[in-house]
Symmetry: C2
Subunit: 220 residues, 2 copies
């Protein structure tokens, strides 16, 4: 916290950033609709009207929250996988492990933000729903593309449809996230890892890559 140089413009952005960090946490537990300007203001140490004017409206706050969550997701899931693995099956494995770690570590109090938001808005039309779908689609597109790279490299000889495998992977990940929260247990992550190792083995994937799945990369 090196303020005092103040900078009204810069401090506004900083306030938004800090408030949105709380917003993601609250929304991951109570949903984007359960997210309330008053409670958010209390949590962030601002006045209710201050938060309201910073974001304009509740819907704009929700949209900003989705965008902020998206950035955290990229930072905690996509970026690490890109850093520590190359294109192909290795990266697919890394993405899966990063996702499991991201959920298990409770980066957000209520688990994966998008797993919650997708289900909350899957039947509620509007701009918020569109934003949630857009973010989810981008993630799945990236995962599909990574799978396709593995396919063209001949690392998944038994697979002919990257989208099908993508569906199966995200099914396991999100189910593990929800069940871990429901039962307060990390066991569902093992279920997901087991299922995915078995599936990839059946597709003829390199056993070394398969064995990496679900293993925590660092001891932190």
């Amino acid at each position: 916290m090196q303020e005092q140089l103040d900078g009204r413009r810069a401090r506004g952005d900083e306030s938004r950033r800090a408030i949105l960090a709380h917003a993601i946490d609250i929304a991951s537990v109570d949903g984007l609709d359960g997210l309330t300007i008053g409670r958010l203001a209390d949590a962030a140490g601002h006045s209710k009207s201050g938060v309201a004017t910073l974001f304009g409206s509740k819907e704009q706050l929700q949209l900003a929250t989705v965008t902020a969550a998206r950035e955290v997701f990229v930072e905690r899931v996509i970026a690490p996988a890109r850093v520590r693995s190359e294109r192909g099956l290795s990266r697919v494995s890394a993405l899966i492990s990063s996702w499991l770690e991201y959920s298990d570590e409770r980066v957000f109090r209520g688990g994966c933000f998008f797993a919650a938001a997708s289900v909350e808005y899957d039947a509620k039309p509007g701009p918020v729903r569109d934003a949630v779908i857009s973010a989810s689609s981008d993630w799945e597109d990236y995962l599909s593309l990574s799978i396709e790279h593995a396919m063209t490299a001949g690392e998944l000889p038994g697979l002919d449809d990257a989208r099908q495998l993508t569906f199966e992977i995200v099914s396991f990940l999100e189910a593990a996230n929800t069940r871990s929260l429901m039962y307060g247990s990390a066991a569902p992550y093992d279920r997901a890892a087991t299922a995915l190792r078995s599936r990839l083995s059946g597709l003829g994937a390199d056993p070394a890559r398969v064995a990496e799945i679900g293993r925590v990369p660092t001891a932190s």
Copy 2:
């Protein structure tokens, strides 16, 4: 509607039943927390105070809604599978098909009630969460038991852990439900059926039983 015999006691139960039918629909879209006594009263054609006195409190209304949804689930998923199939792999296949049909038919406007409620309450402690978890657990227990029957009958020679397969099945079912709602498409159900047929084939299941999965049993 054969009223007129009235019966104050019986009519109260009938009112509760009718109101709960609306409650499940609303909750499947807006969540059990988004379910509001005022809106529910309007939807059911009652007064707000009438609904409030019939259920006592919002929490009791939520609990009654979970119970009502549970009954519909049994009626639409469990019961048909028990009628048209015998214990063992045949019933497992029937349960999967029934579930897919139940979701696809939009028995509730917002898709599977429990898929929505589980995610909504996975991080929110309280009696409602306990009821949702209890219902979900019972469904998974029943599915696990059915798988165990298939195992002891030698119909799944490649499987050694019924709970693992249960996790995988419900992962696909719920993911298909959410994605179908998100994209307004039935294609995710095909994804789930494809994944499950492939998985069961890999376990050495009878191809005839495997082929039944995802096939609509009647032309209705």
